[in-house]
Every structure is written in C-alpha cells, then in structure tokens.
Assembly symmetry: C2
Homo-oligomer: 249 residues x 2
DNA sequence: TATTCCGATAGTGAC
DNA sequence: GTCACTATCGGAATGAG
C-alpha cells in the first residue's frame, strides 16, 4: 500500500503557502510541482487537489479513484491531462530557450507508486539526471516496460469495458515488482547495458547525439533560410535594378 | 580450484631472501609466515617446502597431497604439526609477555582454500582483528562449523580406512560454500548475531571478559602467593627468631 | 515503486 | 574459500504536528 505522505500533505496545503521552489503553478483542481528528485532534464508532478466529491483517501492512487466512481474518475483524470498539456507547452518553450529545439515529453502514472496521492509524472524523454540512480528508477520510467502507464493508455482503460478495465487496473504489485528488476535496456535503441553507470553513460551519449542531430537540422534550416533570403534579396535587387533602369527610362 | 599463487611463490623462494616481515622462521621442510591478513591477534601460516619426492603441484592442497601417497602425506603433515607445536610454544610465550596469560591456539586447514599451496593456519582463539571483515572470513575459522579442519581431525582421517578418508577429503566445494553462508554465531557462547559489525562487537566483548577473568585469576594467584610468602616469611622469621633465640642460648 | 543509510551479496580483476 | 573494487540487492527508518 502507498503510505508515504509527502505528496498528500502538499495536496492538502493552501497553494499560496507552498514555496516557489516546490510549486510551479496551480488551478482550482490541480497543483503542478517540481519533482524533488527529477529523473530527466524536466520532471514535474501533477497532483489533483482535494475537493468534493472526493476525499483525500479517494485520491490515494488510480485504484482508490476507480473504486469511487468511473465517470468522476474519468473527469478527474481528464482534468489532470488538461493541466499536463498546458505544462507541456511551457516545457517546450523552455526547451527551445535552453537548447534551441523541443523533444518528446512523457506523461503517465506509475503502476505501483510508493507515495500516497495520485501523481501524474510529466517529464522530458531523456532520462538524463544525477538523481537517476537505481535500476528501479530507470525501469519505472522506461516507456515500453509497462510500469510507466502513459496517460493515453489509462484514459483508454477508462473507456474500455468494466472487465477489461478491472483487469488492467488490478495488475498486482508482484507483476510490477518484476518489471523493475528487468535488465537495463536503452529506451532509444534497445541495447542492453550491464549496469547503471554504463546505462547512464549510454543515455548521455544518446542525448548528445540527439542534440547534435537537432543542431544540424537547425543549421540546415538556417542555411536554407539564408539561401532563401539571398534569393529574395537577389530578386528584389534585380527588381530595384529594373526599377532604376525603368526609372532612368 | 585453488589457483592464486602468492603462497606457492613464497614456498619456492630461498628463505634467506624472504623479508622478516613475511617469514617468521623456517626449517629444512617448512616455512612459518605471518598471515598477511590476520583474523586473530596471532595468526601464522605453515607451508611445506618443496622437496623430493614432492613436486610443487603435489603440495597444492590436501587432496593433491593425498593423491600422491598416503604414507608420505602422513609424514608431511606430521612435519607441519611439529613446526606448529613449536610455533604454539612461541606464541604462548608472547601471549604471556603481552597479556600476562595464555589462551587457546587453533591449528587447521581450510576445507576449500582459495590459494594454491597447502597452508596450515595457526591462530589464537579470539578472532578479534581489523582484517576480519566478512561472514565468509568468520565462518571459515569457526571451530565447530566444519570448514576449519583441525589438524587432529585431519590426522585422524589419515589413519582411518581409505573409504572413510576419501569421503572426508572429497567433501565438495558446494558443501563448504554453504558453511560460509551459515548464520553468524559466537564461537564462545553460540549466540546468533545479525551481522558482522554486531558480531565483531560481541567478539570484542567476549575477548575483554576473557581478559578480565584471566586478570582476576592472576590477581588471586598473586594474592595467594603473597599470603604464602607472608607465611613463609613469617615462618622463616620465626625460625630466625628461634635461631637467634637458640643462638642466644 | 519516495530517499537514505547500512550491510550483505555478487562479479571482476589482480599476477 | 586471497584481497580490493564496484555495483546490486535487501531491509529499516523516515515525518508531521
């Protein structure tokens, strides 16, 4: 059972009393906080605020939420997704500011969270961070292992038949536990890595090659733009020449 | 298989070229060396020197020695025991010098040594040492677990029937491996200890209570001796008095 | 699957 | 079962009010 209460206590606080180092922004229905131990360059959590008809225990995790009422659950998760989409926009703006390009952003829940209070992870698809220390950290965010439940997947469950939904929501701890112990494989290229230091080195290499690729794209674009500008300029110069010629006529 | 060769190379060297920090003493047939990682206050190794009819590989371990010839093996091990008994005498002298009393000394072979070249461990029965770090270290010297083969036990095997001898000598690696993973239990009082730091603390306590007990014994002895001396003195004084009296007569 | 601390466990490499 | 180094694995405590 989830029992650690740091997120729950954040969710219960008056947002105005939460320091900016913790809270990114908030609405009537949700809080966006900086993950205290970011596992990617960008990593936030979106927490539902506690308000009727939900009690704080209804919001412990996906299972407790689904036990409440399916339609209310759908509405709440859709609300989180709206906040996440807005956050995604902000992150992309910051990506361009800092790096000159955007890259993928993942949104999802952990299949077996440790901390009480539903939290939607929103993080950039690089998994490059000092705080990424253990195999279980990495595997919990691997986009294809099944521990990280992409929000679209969860929304699909909510719209599926009750039987299918129940079977997916009730995947047990043991099943999730096994995923966390799977061998380390790169989420970019599926290469197997022998241990965390090796994996982290490899992820850094992959990330640097993404950057190089994007920078090359930018250069090409700039080059094309320049060519285009030259053409435009040349053409307008010709026009000017023609105009001046015609003016001389 | 034993394959590390530090001891083998020592056994093959001219003893006169081995530094005093390594070699304690030697004879025609054996070397006594300080264990480089002593697991007790006193800890030595006795190595057979390589001489006919043995080759260096005959002397790899008990099993290779026994494959050679049973009577030659007995002779060789008896030779090691003679060196060990002499060493024991030296250690006891040093115990008295340093601590004022003697305590038990163990002599034996490891059932599954890692290093090539037969080596008889001779060590004081305290197992108090900084170098005692791991469970396998401790269990390899526990006097009742069966990994530490007391020399008297081995000599008894040599005098037993060939079938019994073979069964004892051929106890396999897996069996010995299990012994090294047994729970930690104090060799003094059989108490189970949860981990190495706890065990080491307990062994230190046991060792300190041994010291206290022995010191108390010494005090009592000294006291008795003093009483005795007083009696002797008193008596001799009386004699002197009597003598002087008689002299005065 | 919150982190952190501690210790046990496992693999390697040494020459 | 040589050591030393690195990394993984495994349990326990943790905070807040």
């Amino acid at each position: 059972m989830s029992s650690l209460t740091a997120l729950r206590s954040i969710a219960l606080r008056d947002p105005l009393t939460i320091p900016n180092s913790v809270l990114y922004n908030h609405s009537q229905t949700s809080l966006v906080v900086f993950d205290a131990y970011p596992k990617s360059i960008f990593h936030f959590l979106i927490l539902p605020r506690v308000h009727e008809p939900f009690t704080v225990t209804d919001l412990t995790d996906l299972r407790s939420l689904l036990r409440k009422d399916i339609d209310l659950a759908k509405e709440l998760i859709h609300g989180l997704k709206i906040a996440a989409d807005s956050l995604k926009h902000d992150i992309e703006e910051e990506m361009v500011k800092r790096y000159g390009f955007k890259w993928e952003i993942w949104m999802g829940f952990h299949g077996a969270p440790s901390m009480a209070h539903l939290h939607l992870h929103v993080l950039s698809a690089d998994l490059c961070s000092e705080k990424m220390k253990h195999k279980k950290h990495y595997n919990s965010f691997h986009p294809k292992h099944g521990f990280f439940l992409h929000i679209e997947t969860v929304l699909a469950w909510l719209d599926a038949t009750p039987t299918y939904r129940a079977s997916m929501i009730n995947i047990n701890q043991a099943t999730y536990g096994k995923i966390l112990k799977e061998p380390l494989s790169c989420f970019h290229c599926s290469k197997q890595l022998k241990d965390m230091p090796t994996l982290k080195g490899h992820l850094q290499d992959e990330w640097e090659s993404v950057m190089k690729r994007e920078r090359t794209k930018l250069e090409r674009k700039k080059h094309i733009t320049t060519k285009h500008e030259q053409l435009v300029n040349a053409s307008s110069t010709r026009h000017e020449e023609e105009e001046s010629k015609s003016g001389q006529q």
